[in-house]
């Protein structure tokens, strides 16, 4: 199994204010698989994503990527792990405001020994003509495309997406989902996506429903449909 999540537990707060956000999550995701984590607010899906991404740590359990356990890694190794394996996409883009669109993508390219071609990526993302603009000169959808470009340019093994369409309108969201789908098919990256949008589950290979820090339902999609056909 490429990505193995084993008995992950996580709490926040102290004493009587302690809240158990993840109560022992077990999950396996194959290489190249598109996995969607669904659930209401507070179900623990973003926390799980952050633990997979190595930007948060679990209280118990471990994450293993291609046989490497992240919990045992020191900070330096964890940085290298993120550098080598992960691409991140957030709901709010998190672009570096004083770098141009192209330079924001270069931020990702720098981390890889063999990055993808930046011009190709800009073309694929449909933002080639905006490459010399600053993020605040672009629409939300274009900014999210840039964030995707930054995550993909280093051709990561796993693409972690935290509500990537949460701040976008219907059409733009569909465009972004199609892009992620294309990328997943073209480059074979494993995609783990956290979303509120129930419709997205239809395009996923694996669907995981979380509630109150536990997996309520997990299944593989036998009849997944292309992003183009999604509707909500």
């Amino acid at each position: 199994m490429f990505l193995e999540i084993n008995n992950i537990k996580k709490s926040f707060g102290e004493a009587e204010n302690r809240i158990e956000v993840l109560k022992g999550i077990d999950l396996s995701i194959d290489k190249g698989e598109f996995c969607v984590l669904l659930g209401p607010s507070g179900s623990g899906k973003s926390t799980l994503l952050n633990i997979i991404g190595g930007i948060d740590s679990s209280d118990e359990g471990y994450i293993s990527i291609d046989g490497e356990k992240t919990g045992e890694m020191k900070e330096k190794k964890l940085t290298l792990y993120r550098r080598k394996h992960l691409g991140y996409i957030f709901q709010m883009y998190n672009l570096i405001p004083n770098l141009t669109i192209r330079e924001n993508i270069e931020v990702g390219a720098y981390l890889s020994d063999k990055p993808l071609d930046i011009d190709d990526m800009l073309q694929t993302l449909g933002i080639y003509e905006h490459q010399h603009k600053l993020p605040n000169q672009l629409s939300g959808g274009q900014q999210q495309r840039t964030a995707i470009g930054r995550a993909l340019i280093k051709n990561p093994d796993i693409l972690l997406c935290d509500e990537p369409t949460g701040a976008l309108d219907y059409n733009t969201s569909k465009g972004i989902l199609k892009l992620i789908e294309t990328v997943n098919q073209k480059y074979g990256n494993t995609v783990v996506m956290v979303t509120h949008n129930d419709a997205i589950k239809y395009m996923a290979d694996q669907v995981v429903h979380l509630k109150d820090g536990t997996i309520r339902k997990s299944y593989h999609n036998e009849n997944k449909i292309p992003a183009e056909e999604l509707d909500w």
Binding site: I55, L99, A151
Partner: protein
């Protein structure tokens, strides 16, 4: 109800303790020092002004050859003056200095005991405090000359010697080589009459109402005295440098100190302004929501301005407490390092309160109000959308793809933080200017001393002292006899001696009006001043040319000090001599110009000591020691202050770099967090963010050196113009710049280490918490 937002202030203070602590320290240190300076200055000024009455300081003195008879005294006192005996003797001490010893005076020019006790018995002496400290003589020590020995019973400050001028014609006093002292009257009476100098002090029955009246009164008195006694010298108080120099110099640094404070307040106000701007950007959503909910712009402006005002207020209060207690004493010690002042009492200074408390708060308020009002003019909706730019969308500067990515990244950080870096540039220029001053002054003084030593006109320059009796207008016969006596007595057999005429005139230019210029009338083939001084040729010393910005071809007008007669000279050339502000012309021409006898001369240049002229006809000997008095006194009085200036400069430098580089990192907190998530290591992030600031710091350090050099030329020139007669060239070596650069880099390195730690501490969830 109180604005609930104000409850954030304490939390903000706690959360940003480091930032506010450094601002606070700088504020307290600056306000404290300036307050201490102003309080000390005002206390010292009061002490000085009150000393005239308290110690009954003379209105003038005159010297006569022989002790006056009671009848002569009575005649003089008919001029509505009281005359006091003020005899003294001078002893060459074994430590190489000269001590002028008076009897303990009870009626005029009384002394103030500073430490120990007044001399009570034969063999005891109380010496001037500053002279004692400069020569490391402690109470209880024994001092002596070849003939006598005394035990130092205490330190005193003599009210007529607040500046230790041994000769009223000196351009600067020398409190290392010259001191004053008192011994018990009974002991003084045992001194040989031969060694006594018959000096008399006088006080007016009714004080002249103003300076002009005092001048007229003194002139009348001199004429009246000339009829009754043979005057050797006549010095009214307003011309007595030992008394008035201190008063004239006091407060001369006040403007500079106040400017220093205001400069730092302005810099800190802008630092606050930048910090608040960043906070507003960070809290834009909240501000937009509050504005949308009904909070007025004024309420929010008042909230954000509270912190700078609060910090300034507390800083001012604490600074003033420090100023009135510890630092005032430090500054007073500096005064005591320069002048021999009597004991002072700390006096409340309204000026200090106004300048160090009220004005800084007003300045802080105005600058921050301007910044805040500008920032807050954006509509609530724009705040909510985080669209704070009131200009049209900014376009990115195009940077070629050929430029390495890291370089472009760093350049973008620099572009983004231009306002911070502009502030940093101002701060570095300012801090380096102080540092420059602190480092350069000792070198400038050293160079001056070396230059004087190498370029002296002659090893000895004797200025003859023409007895006042020669000038008697009333008794022409007496005057003639005195002149004949004098002419005979001042001939020498010394073969290296060369006669010259010296005459003093005052400048009339705008640069430094009323400054004394020494005119040398030199012989045609002078071996000491090798200039072609044929008729009409006029050379001026380099010191004079530099100070008064003169070149060959310029016409200068000089005038008599107390008369309206003026003289024009066209400068033929500049003579490389820095020792005095002088003009060189043909001796015959000079004698003719001032209606002096064709054979008249007033001094000798000589490479060997002249021993065959009676000391009483030698007014002064201008040797290396005399010429370097200015630099030595500056060294003694300001030397210790320079370390303080250096330390203060480094503090300002450090605080500003720390605050502004911290702002750069805070501003980019989210981006730093994001690139951490993406997999950038701390080293890489530091290289990106610290390097940009490092590059700017190095650039600014280099830039500031050039700018500060020119600033320094102007400031040093101004100091020389305002505070000193004479001229010291601002000459420094490259070593000063290297020292400044190294100090700047080392200071920055300390800050950079703190910043690297700060970058390490930026949490990765920062990017998840905030939206851009």
């Amino acid at each position: 109800m109180r604005n609930p937002l104000q409850k954030r202030l304490l939390r903000e203070l706690r959360d940003e303790a480091g930032k506010y602590a450094v601002i606070f320290i700088l504020l307290v240190a600056t306000i404290g020092f300036v307050s201490g300076f102003l309080v000390a200055d005002s206390s010292m000024r009061i002490t000085y002004d009150e000393s005239f009455e308290k110690y009954n300081i003379e209105d003038g003195y005159f010297d006569v050859k022989k002790e006056m008879t009671q009848e002569q005294k009575a005649v003089l006192e008919k001029n509505e003056i009281t005359i006091y005996e003020n005899y003294f003797m001078e002893e060459e001490l074994t430590n190489g200095s000269t001590l002028r010893i008076y009897a303990d005076r009870e009626d005029v020019d009384r002394g103030c005991l500073m430490e120990g006790h007044l001399p009570e018995q034969a063999g005891e002496i109380a010496i001037d405090r500053m002279y004692a400290e400069n020569n490391k003589i402690a109470v209880g020590d024994t001092i002596g000359s070849a003939d006598r020995e005394w035990t130092v019973s205490g330190y005193v400050a003599l009210s007529d010697y607040s500046s230790l001028f041994s000769d009223n014609n000196d351009s600067m006093f020398d409190a290392v080589k010259f001191g004053v002292a008192i011994v018990p009257k009974e002991d003084f009476d045992t001194f040989s009459k031969k060694t006594l100098h018959y000096r008399y002090a006088w006080t007016y029955g009714t004080e002249p109402v103003n300076e002009t009246a005092e001048n007229d009164r003194a002139e009348d008195l001199m004429k009246a005295m000339g009829k009754a006694v043979s005057l050797e010298s006549f010095v009214p108080r307003y011309q007595n440098q030992a008394i008035i120099f201190t008063g004239n110099d006091m407060g001369s640094d006040k403007g500079m100190m106040t400017a220093l404070l205001y400069m730092i307040i302005v810099i800190l106000a802008f630092v606050f302004g930048i910090t608040i701007s960043n906070t507003i950007t960070k809290e834009a959503n909240t501000i937009g929501t509050l504005r949308a909910s009904g909070y007025t712009r004024g309420e929010l402006v008042r909230h954000y301005i509270s912190m700078p005002l609060l910090v300034t207020l507390i800083g001012a209060v604490l600074g003033n407490i420090l100023g009135y207690t510890v630092l005032e004493k430090v500054v007073c010690q500096m005064y005591y390092g320069s002048y021999s002042l009597t004991k002072y009492v700390t006096a409340w200074s309204g000026e200090a309160f106004w300048k160090t408390t009220v004005v800084p708060i007003i300045m802080m308020m105005i600058i921050n109000l301007l910044i805040l009002n500008h920032k807050m003019k954006v509509s609530p909706l724009k705040f909510i959308r985080r669209d704070l730019s009131r200009r049209k969308q900014k376009r990115a500067v195009r940077l070629g793809v050929m430029v390495p990515f890291f370089t472009r990244f760093r350049l973008r950080i620099i572009f983004q933080n231009m306002s911070n870096y502009a502030m940093l540039l101002v701060g570095i220029i300012f801090a380096n200017l102080l540092l420059f001053f602190g480092l350069a002054l000792p070198e400038v003084l050293d160079h001056y001393q070396d230059d004087i030593q190498q370029n002296m006109l002659s090893s000895y320059q004797y200025m003859l002292s023409v007895p006042v009796s020669v000038m008697s207008e009333e008794s022409k016969i007496k005057s003639l006899i005195s002149m004949l006596e004098f002419s005979k007595a001042v001939e020498t057999d010394n073969e290296s001696a060369e006669k010259f005429t010296a005459y003093s005139l005052n400048t009339t230019d705008d640069i430094c009006d009323g400054e004394e210029i020494l005119l040398y009338g030199i012989q045609k083939d002078s071996q000491y001043v090798p200039l072609d001084v044929s008729e009409g040729q006029v050379y001026i010393s380099k010191g004079y040319a530099d100070k008064h910005l003169l070149k060959a071809g310029h016409t200068i007008t000089l005038k008599e000090k107390y008369k309206d007669d003026s003289y024009d000279f066209v400068v033929t050339g500049i003579y490389d001599y820095m020792g005095t502000l002088s003009l060189f012309i043909n001796q015959d021409q000079l004698n003719e110009m001032f209606d002096l006898d064709q054979d008249y001369f007033s001094g000798y240049f000589s490479d060997t000591e002249i021993t065959d002229i009676n000391d009483k006809y030698i007014g002064s000997v201008v040797d290396l020691e005399a010429l370097t008095k200015i630099s030595r006194q500056l060294d003694v009085s300001m030397g210790s202050m320079m370390y303080l200036v250096d330390g203060f400069a480094i503090l300002i430098f450090m605080v500003l770099i720390y605050l502004l580089s911290k702002i750069v990192i805070e501003k980019n907190g989210q981006s730093i967090s994001m690139v951490k998530i993406l997999g950038y290591g701390n080293g890489e992030i530091s290289r990106l963010y610290i390097f940009s600031t490092s590059f700017m710091v190095v650039l600014f350090l280099l830039l500031s050196m050039v700018i500060d050099y020119y600033f320094m030329l102007v400031i040093f020139r101004q100091i020389m113009l305002e505070s000193f007669s004479g001229w010291i060239e601002f000459h420094i070596t490259a070593g000063i710049f290297i020292k400044m650069f190294i100090l700047g880099i080392v200071t920055y390195a300390v800050v950079a280490v703190l910043e690297v730690r700060k970058i390490r501490k930026v949490p990765m969830d920062e990017a998840l918490k905030n939206v851009e």
